[in-house]
């Protein structure tokens, strides 16, 4: 950046604001942009591509589960002799698909979409800020994320294929796995760095750049959700980075952080010095990965809160309860991690502690659900497309949350641990829960980004198809899991006697998954078609109260607002008695 430009960009005293309206070149404007809105769009598109890719991996796995050992039609020959000889999937490749499906969906799909895309685009607009506090850091965060994604993807092309030790990369299995695991670790280092830069930026922006009058208790709940999420990313990811560094050391320099003494692999005693602890990896991994669950769900809860208040035309019931629940949830999420480890033999005393904290953390989640349900009560609900997704989120997240309780009880977990029940529980939270909410968010804010609405008919086809199929996919997992079918089985449980009674569900789930893919076509078509052909709408198409709708045009220009707004009221003043409209914008001055 030239000195001249530095002066104009940063010196508040400079009386030449017109310098900023100089058009930037193509590269600075569309590729290496520092505008939070463009970075948000970059995040959205990249993460949607990764979501689709992760979904594709899963559809391949579902073929293997429905028809174990059979030749995959059409695409079976594309994956080479080492992965799918003769079109039949080998177990190692199935494991790679599983590990990469999890990694890609969590770290490259949902978090970047919920935080990187929605957080980046919407949050500064909602708090009345011209941009993020550190625009260049914001840009760096996206590009490091993209590099991390490409590194992860590159894992498929190294000898031995991509990482195949599960998305959890448990030691010592991951320590002795093929080269793909090293690539996975390197990819994670990039992703962690990206999320670190992002979270520092988010917190600073929310604390420092709020518009005049926008006190903390006047923040839209979406901003609160992003705020708590950013703290989780900031503080929970580094221990995984530490663990990643140690696993890299183990793999590359022959240390034994996670290798116990006397480990025998394939009939041979390992020559490492030993003395390491496989449990150490699990502790460090889950110290990240449990807060990570809330990183996945909180932005979704934030989106649902916005859509519910807007479409019920009444204030969120219990805004403060919601805020304090989210903060409490954030705190508690750091002290529940070992409920993933009840069966590791870490001792009943520790198990009891983590069982207690796990029961406690369910309380704020229940408060959040209750707030949403009571918000619906007595509202004159507008059944818009985003609202359908938001309403569906409530029971789906409810099922996901409630099925988690038996897993949090250390005795019930003995039966359920590592079965399909766990997969069902987790996916109900993240897929029918978070992903439905994220879709809702896409339909809700699309008019802000493009100035046009997405088509409602296609949107409703997309909603109903996705909603029904998701339940067809995930509900049978509870049945299989309760019957004792383990997760990560290459043949879906064929060789186990106790699985025989529930095996037929495998085909049902697979058909559900492939059908759901068909129902994504109207969405993809709608998404691109509406950019140019969608119905043009006003700046505040949903008649909302928050600043992104009431103070900024659609799409907002560089710098977001022509004059910085100031805030005079809380975020959800809908149907205020005596007000001229049923929504009172946050930036509307109080009437005398």
């Amino acid at each position: 950046m030239s000195q001249q430009e530095t002066l104009h960009t940063h010196d508040i005293q400079t009386p030449h604001p017109e310098a900023h309206h100089q058009p930037l070149g193509f590269w600075r404007h569309y590729i290496f942009s520092t505008d939070h809105k463009l970075i948000g769009i970059q995040y959205a598109i990249t993460s949607l591509v990764f979501l689709l890719f992760g979904f594709f991996l899963m559809m391949m796995m579902r073929w293997q589960l429905a028809f174990p050992g059979e030749v995959m039609p059409l695409i079976g020959g594309l994956f080479g002799e080492s992965a799918m000889p003769g079109g039949i999937m080998v177990p190692e490749f199935y494991n790679s698909l599983g590990a990469m499906h999890g990694t890609i969906m969590v770290f490259l799909g949902i978090v970047p979409l919920g935080v990187g895309a929605f957080g980046n685009y919407v949050m500064p607009l909602q708090i009345g800020a011209p941009d993020m506090a550190f625009p260049k850091l914001n840009m760096a965060s996206y590009w490091i994320y993209l590099v991390g994604g490409i590194v992860m993807f590159a894992g498929f092309f190294v000898p031995g294929g991509a990482a195949n030790s599960g998305w959890t990369s448990y030691a010592p299995l991951a320590n002795i796995a093929t080269t793909g695991q090293t690539v996975w670790l390197l990819g994670m280092v990039f992703l962690i760095t990206s999320s670190l830069l992002g979270s520092v930026n988010f917190i600073t922006t929310i604390i420092q750049l709020r518009a005049p009058g926008l006190s903390l208790m006047r923040l839209p709940f979406f901003v609160w959700a992003q705020f708590v999420t950013a703290f989780l990313l900031l503080l929970a990811f580094p221990p995984l980075e530490a663990a990643g560094v140690m696993q890299l050391m183990d793999r590359l320099t022959g240390t034994s952080f996670f290798l116990p003494s006397g480990l025998v692999v394939s009939g041979e005693l390992l020559t490492n010095s030993g003395g390491g602890s496989p449990l150490l990896w699990q502790h460090l991994f889950w110290f990240l990965a449990h807060p990570e669950v809330y990183v996945l769900i909180l932005p979704a809860i934030g989106i649902v809160a916005e859509i519910l208040a807007n479409n019920t035309r009444k204030p969120l019931w219990g805004y403060k309860s919601l805020v304090f629940s989210a903060i409490f949830l954030g705190f508690m999420s750091f002290v529940v991690w070992a409920h993933h480890m009840f069966l590791t033999g870490m001792g009943t005393t520790i198990s009891s502690f983590f069982q207690a904290t796990t029961m406690i953390i369910s309380i704020p989640s229940v408060i959040i659900i209750s707030v949403f349900i009571i918000t619906l009560w007595g509202g004159s609900i507008r059944f818009t497309t985003p609202m359908l997704f938001a309403i569906a989120f409530i029971p789906m997240f409810g099922i996901g949350g409630l099925t988690g309780l038996p897993l949090g009880l250390s005795t019930a977990d003995i039966h359920l641990h590592d079965t399909y029940y766990v997969i069902g529980h987790f996916h109900y939270v993240v897929a029918p829960g978070t992903i439905l909410a994220l879709f809702g968010g896409l339909y809700y804010w699309y008019p802000k980004v493009t100035g046009r609405k997405m088509n409602d008919v296609l949107g409703k086809i997309h909603f109903w198809g996705t909603f029904v199929c998701m339940n067809v996919i995930f509900m049978p997992m509870f049945i299989q899991g309760l019957a004792g079918v383990s997760r990560r089985l290459y043949d879906g449980g064929q060789q186990y006697a106790h699985a025989q009674g529930v095996l037929e569900w495998n085909l049902v789930m697979s058909i559900g998954a492939w059908t759901m893919a068909v129902f994504q076509i109207p969405f993809i078509w709608n998404f691109f078609w509406s950019i140019r052909k969608g119905k043009k709408v006003s700046d505040n198409v949903w008649e909302a109260t928050t600043l992104e709708w009431t103070a900024a045009p659609s799409p907002p220009p560089h710098g977001n607002f022509t004059t910085l707004p100031s805030v005079h009221r809380g975020p959800y003043e809908y149907s205020v008695p005596g007000a001229p409209t049923d929504f009172t914008p946050q930036n509307e001055p109080a009437r005398a």
Binding site: L7, T253, H283, G559
Partner: protein, 196 residues
């Protein structure tokens, strides 16, 4: 449109953006090293024959390194204080002194590493050495990072001073906070690895 509070503090938080940002970054660093320190504790508690650090490592050299780093923290503060008072020459002098200390630390560290390697003491030898090399290596990377950032600000000082002196002062303060943190990590590492 300008981003508010890049230079001046926001009234209700009393912070400018970068200062809050660096504190958050340091919080994250605390968790990173916290994770590694907990790994150290867990591995040591689970071990039956944990060596005494002083038997393997060179305590006098590490003591010297501790002094070097503490000195560099002092010169770092002095350079910021000088800059605030407008004493540009003193600011530059102290920045150079900080840099020299940083280089000195890395050279001494390299001598230590070299001595270990020449005795065939590699990270894979024992869990103690694995912890030692990982922790000090990661800390060394942080020192290198600090050296790069300090050098950058030293070399571009004149440009900043001509255009935005307050911004340079803020930046030096932020770099200083980071440098003190790196120093502090060593203050924990030294007794943990060499003495206990």
């Amino acid at each position: 449109m300008q981003i508010p509070h890049t230079l001046t503090a926001r009234a209700d938080t009393g912070l400018y953006n970068a200062k809050l940002g660096i504190w958050l970054f340091l919080a994250s660093e605390v968790m990173l090293f916290g994770g590694l320190f907990s790994a150290y504790v867990l591995l040591r508690v689970g071990s039956t024959d944990w060596p005494h650090g002083a038997d393997i490592l060179n305590v006098p050299l590490a003591m010297l390194n501790t002094m070097v780093l503490i000195t560099s923290s002092v010169t770092m503060v002095m350079s910021w204080a000088s800059l605030r008072q407008g004493k540009v020459a003193a600011y530059k002098g102290y920045m150079v002194a900080t840099l020299l200390c940083g280089f000195g630390f890395m050279i001494i560290k390299a001598i230590e590493y070299g001595a270990k390697f020449s005795h065939h003491l590699y990270p894979g030898e024992s869990t103690f050495l694995a912890v030692y090399f990982t922790l000090t290596g990661l800390h060394g990377l942080h020192v290198v990072g600090g050296i790069i950032v300090i050098s950058y600000h030293l070399l571009t000082s004149n440009r900043w001073l001509r255009s935005e002196p307050e911004r340079l002062t803020n930046r030096v303060e932020v770099v200083g906070l980071y440098w003190h943190f790196v120093d502090l990590v060593w203050i924990f590492l030294f007794p943990l690895l060499y003495l206990l």
